[in-house]
Subunit: 199 residues, 2 copies
């Protein structure tokens, strides 16, 4: 995933030293966002807080949006991911429950996603459009295989189920953050139950 | 819904003239957001664009967040709503497809929802927590009645289905805005199919 994201967010400084410095900046930027949130923070202020010059920050990131998208992609890539799992409702439940454990990650994701809908967004719009497309394609292929083997009901289109699982996971993380009694995992397991073929 | 929202967003100026003026400001503010988006617009700039003084705006709204939440509630209330429909998947499909027809409404909703997750949010957090709670309660009651009459499967908790329908609707509106081929209405109809009891 890191390579695809780097392409989208226009990584500069491809020499090893530049890459390492960029990672360092992102590591510190994540801490700033955890502590302060993403809303209303200028690039200049972020530079101040992570202790680099504004010019240095602009060397690596063209805009605040580009930095924020890179921070999100970096935070997501940094998390331990279970390797080689078949994408499906279980991997989405796993990702959703791990997301809400990282303070600020869902907030940052939601903030960037909302900003990507603004007409002047470029980096964010491309990042999220690409991300959703990839996720939907992976899930659809996996759900089709499960439909063929009889573990997912096959009377509904796999691509609809893929879009629904992603939407439900995104939406429920927010509902859960606002009201923890909602039951993020149990509600997603109910979606899993809806996907199974009638006994 | 207007009364509940007014309580949350702390309406001032309860005399008729103040109310009318406030509505007028909100009508003009909606146009500003449609044209410019909600991101990065200060209260002073908004006042300038809608042609009122900054002080006048502060008389009606304590903060930028309060104004934005009021704009969203106002835009939502202003849309024609089908009266006396039983809440359920069909009313949610109807609301979702009408939402995406109003330019900027989903963007404003998503921006405010993301901001409500920030720790310093007060107005927005209360508005959305209350809104989700009311929607979930209405949908749950309605789904329970449908489970009792046999039109919705009853082997899964109605409150999970309610949270899922809202999450799917919110999430799919965003996916659709980024990629219109996703099929907002058809995908939500598939969720409707998942809710029906096995034939």
């Amino acid at each position: 995933m890191a390579d695809a994201d780097d392409a989208v967010i226009g990584r500069r400084g491809s020499q090893p030293k530049g890459v390492a410095r960029r990672q360092e900046i992102l590591d510190r930027a994540i801490e700033v966002f955890r502590a302060r949130g993403a809303d209303g923070t200028s690039l200049r202020k972020i530079a101040e807080e992570i202790g680099v010059s504004h010019a240095a920050l602009l060397h690596y990131f063209d805009s605040r949006e580009q930095l924020l998208v890179a921070v999100y992609a970096h935070a997501e890539a940094r998390r331990d991911k279970p390797a080689a799992l078949v994408p499906g409702i279980d991997t989405m439940i796993d990702a959703a429950t791990r997301n809400v454990e990282v303070p600020g990650l869902v907030t940052l994701y939601s903030t960037l996603l909302a900003a990507s809908l603004e007409s002047r967004s470029e980096v964010g719009r491309e990042f999220f459009a690409t991300r959703f497309e990839r996720l939907r394609a992976e899930l659809t292929a996996s759900l089709r295989a499960q439909q063929a083997e009889g573990t997912v009901r096959d009377d509904v289109p796999a691509e609809h189920l893929a879009a629904l699982i992603i939407a439900a996971s995104d939406g429920l993380q927010i509902q859960w953050l606002l009201e923890p009694s909602v039951g993020l995992e149990s509600t997603l397991r109910t979606l899993g139950a809806l996907l199974r073929p009638p006994a």
